[in-house]
Each structure stands twice: as C-alpha cells, then as structure tokens.
C-alpha cells in the first residue's frame, strides 16, 4: 500500500530522482570542516521553527513587548526553552557561518565555477547579521534599547547617506514604536524572505556543481 502510494507520487514528482540527485550525489573525500554548511542550515531551520512559535505570544508594541517576553519566559510551558534555543542558536549560527566562510575561503572553494555560491553566501551572512540586529531589539529591555540606539547611530555615520539611513532604520528621528514595529517586520518577513531566496540559490548551486575537493588532493 505505502509502496503504491509512493509510486503514484514518484511517477508525477520524480521523488526517486530528486532523492538520488540531492542525497546520493558524489562527494570527494573531505573532512569535518565540510560539515559547517550543514550545521548552519540546521541552525537556520531551528531559528525559523522557534521563531514562528515565538510569534504566537510575542507582541511588537512598546506597551507590552517586554511583558509578552516575560510571559513567554515565565508563564508559557517550555517558553524558556523555545526562547532560549532561539537566543543561543542565533549566536551559534553567526559562529558556524563565519567558520564556514573561513573554510570555503582557505580551501579556495569560492573559485570558478563556484563564485555565485560564494556571493550568495556572503549575502546570506549579511542577512543573518541583519536578523541578529533586528531580533535583538524585540525583547524591548534596556540592553535592546541601547544596543539599537548605538547600532542605528552607527548607520548615521555613513558619509552623505547616513542621516537618511538613520531615519529609515528608526522610522523617524527617535527610537520609537515605529522602530520596534519595523524591526519586527524586518525580522520575521523581509529578511527571512531574502534568506529563503538566497539559500535556495545557494543550495541548488551546491547540488548542481558538487562540492570542491581539498586543494592538492587527487579526486
């Protein structure tokens, strides 16, 4: 029965072919540094899942953002766990991504024909930093507030465009309800949309081009 159901879908969707291209593809003999991409992907999925669940209780309004987070941490069953995972995995993700970049850089994996994989990767890294920046404001505590004050001021020092960027980020001159709302929107819609798009390209390229060998070793 299960076999028949599978065959029905396989005939129409080409699942078998999908499986063999994605999972049974040939790879050179590599080492543990090559697991950092998968580790980042895993953490990214963890962020998406825990993030979606956090939105079930989190409210991006200055009046209650802090209270809603307190409620998640102290009132909701396993809220401390879901929030804790989101918090720590955000930090870990930046670390794994950075090490992953170092690995691809030092192994020369960014060279022809993989330049696009590198470029999408750089953008993914920047977007992830953006996720961290916008997420950090959401708990709306003293640390969030002042970290965002500083970060937006830093954008303000950009030559010529600084003042404009500063106001766009804050939604005006003050760090206000508008800032919280737009950071939330960026954190859960805009930046994740960019991540999904670029991650899609990044993954397709990896499957299509295969991964590079360790330099100096034979195939």
């Amino acid at each position: 029965m299960a076999g028949k159901v599978f065959a029905w879908f396989d005939e129409r969707l080409g699942l078998e072919a999908f499986y063999s291209t994605v999972l049974d593809r040939k790879i050179p003999k590599v080492n543990w540094w090559f697991t950092l991409g998968s580790a980042s992907l895993f953490l990214c999925v963890i962020q998406a899942l825990t993030g979606v669940f956090l939105t079930m209780y989190y409210v991006p309004s200055p009046a209650v953002a802090y209270d809603s987070i307190q409620y998640i941490t102290k009132g909701v069953a396993f809220g401390w766990l879901v929030r804790g995972i989101h918090h720590w995995s955000a930090t870990l993700l930046v670390i794994t991504l950075f090490l992953h970049m170092l690995r691809t850089f030092f192994y020369g994996a960014y060279k022809f024909p993989r330049e696009m994989t590198w470029m999408t990767g750089v953008l993914l890294f920047l977007l992830t930093l953006g996720m961290g920046l916008t997420g950090y404001l959401l708990p709306w505590n003293q640390r969030s507030y002042w970290a965002t004050t500083v970060a937006t001021e830093i954008f303000g020092t950009v030559p010529f465009l600084g003042d404009f960027l500063f106001k766009v980020l804050r939604g005006g001159t003050d760090l206000s309800a508008l800032t919280l709302a737009r950071f939330f929107s960026a954190h859960i819609w805009i930046l994740p949309a960019g991540v999904v798009l670029l991650l899609g390209v990044h993954m397709v390229l990896i499957v299509k081009l295969g991964i590079s060998n360790i330099p100096g070793e034979d195939e």
Binding site: G75, A77, G79, V82
Partner: protein, 164 residues
C-alpha cells in the same frame, strides 16, 4: 525493509536505518512534545472564580420587574489584564420571593435584555425569548436561563460567581 534483526543478516545499511530512525524519533519527541506544551499552555491554566458579589439592597429593587445589575471582574491573561462584564437580572417577585438570572443567553452566550413591552427576555442574536421565569418561549436555546445562587445578608443581595 528489515526482515530479520539478528546478526549475520542485518546489513550495515539496515542497522544505520534502525539507529537513525530510533535516535531521530527520540530527538523529534524531545523537540516536538515541548512545542505542543508551548502551544496549548494557556489552555491548561484555569483561574477559578469563587466570589460573592453584592448587588445592593434588596429593598432597592422594584417588585415584579427584572432589573439589571452590571458589574465587572478582571483576570490576568498572559501579559494583559482582561476585564469581563457580567449582568445579573434581579427579579423580586413578592416581598420574599427572589430570583437572580444571568443575562448570558443559554444558546451561544449573547446577552439577553428584558423587554417590558414584550414582557420577555429577548436575545438579539438568534431571536430567542425567555419568559419572566426564565423559561424558553421561543428560539434555539437548549435550556432555560441560568440562575445565580444567592443569599441575603443584612438586607443586601449577594450572588455567587463561580466558573473559570
């Protein structure tokens, strides 16, 4: 598929599959069960109400006309204090006979209103009607109007508010 799990026939591939399925299920449960708890958590917290509310002096209510007494109670839901309003219809029939109805329609919880001309409680939602004794005259409600338990202390009417 695995047919025999005893040694020489268990291939490395099958062994890996079994171990992966086993460990995967444990990891899935470790993450999945807390998530279910996380989602249903507010449904499992109940705040029992058990209060005696004073509706004021018995003598202050007219005889023979159901009279509405409104009051509010608040509870903490998550990070918010939620205020709910309640309405009690006091019907002082004779000097000694007293009935206190809840104004919550027994159909789907809209609020009923006493209509002097119709001489009935009317529900605006699905056109239910209850007579002065709370009995169903017309419409979809499954049971007569609910009544509050009450007591009279020093001439004041007190009703018992229970539930969640």
């Amino acid at each position: 598929m695995v047919k025999k799990t005893t040694s020489p026939n268990l291939s490395r591939r099958d062994f890996t599959k079994i171990v992966m399925t086993f460990l995967g299920s444990i990891m899935g449960a470790m993450v999945g069960l807390p998530i279910i708890g996380f989602i249903v958590s507010p449904a499992l917290k109940t705040q029992e109400l058990d209060d005696w509310i004073s509706l004021g002096a018995f003598d202050g209510y007219p005889i023979g006309t159901p009279t509405l007494f409104s009051f509010t109670r608040s509870k903490v839901n998550g990070w918010e204090r939620t205020t709910s309003s309640y309405g009690a219809y006091v019907l002082r029939k004779t000097e000694s006979e007293l009935k206190v109805y809840s104004n919550v329609c027994t159909h789907l919880s809209c609020r009923v209103k006493w209509d002097e001309d119709a001489h009935a409680f009317l529900c605006p939602c699905h056109d239910a009607r209850f007579d002065i004794n709370g009995a169903i005259l017309y419409g979809p409600p499954p049971r007569p109007m609910d009544r509050y338990e009450f007591k009279i202390e020093e001439g004041n009417i007190l009703i018992h508010l229970t539930g969640e």
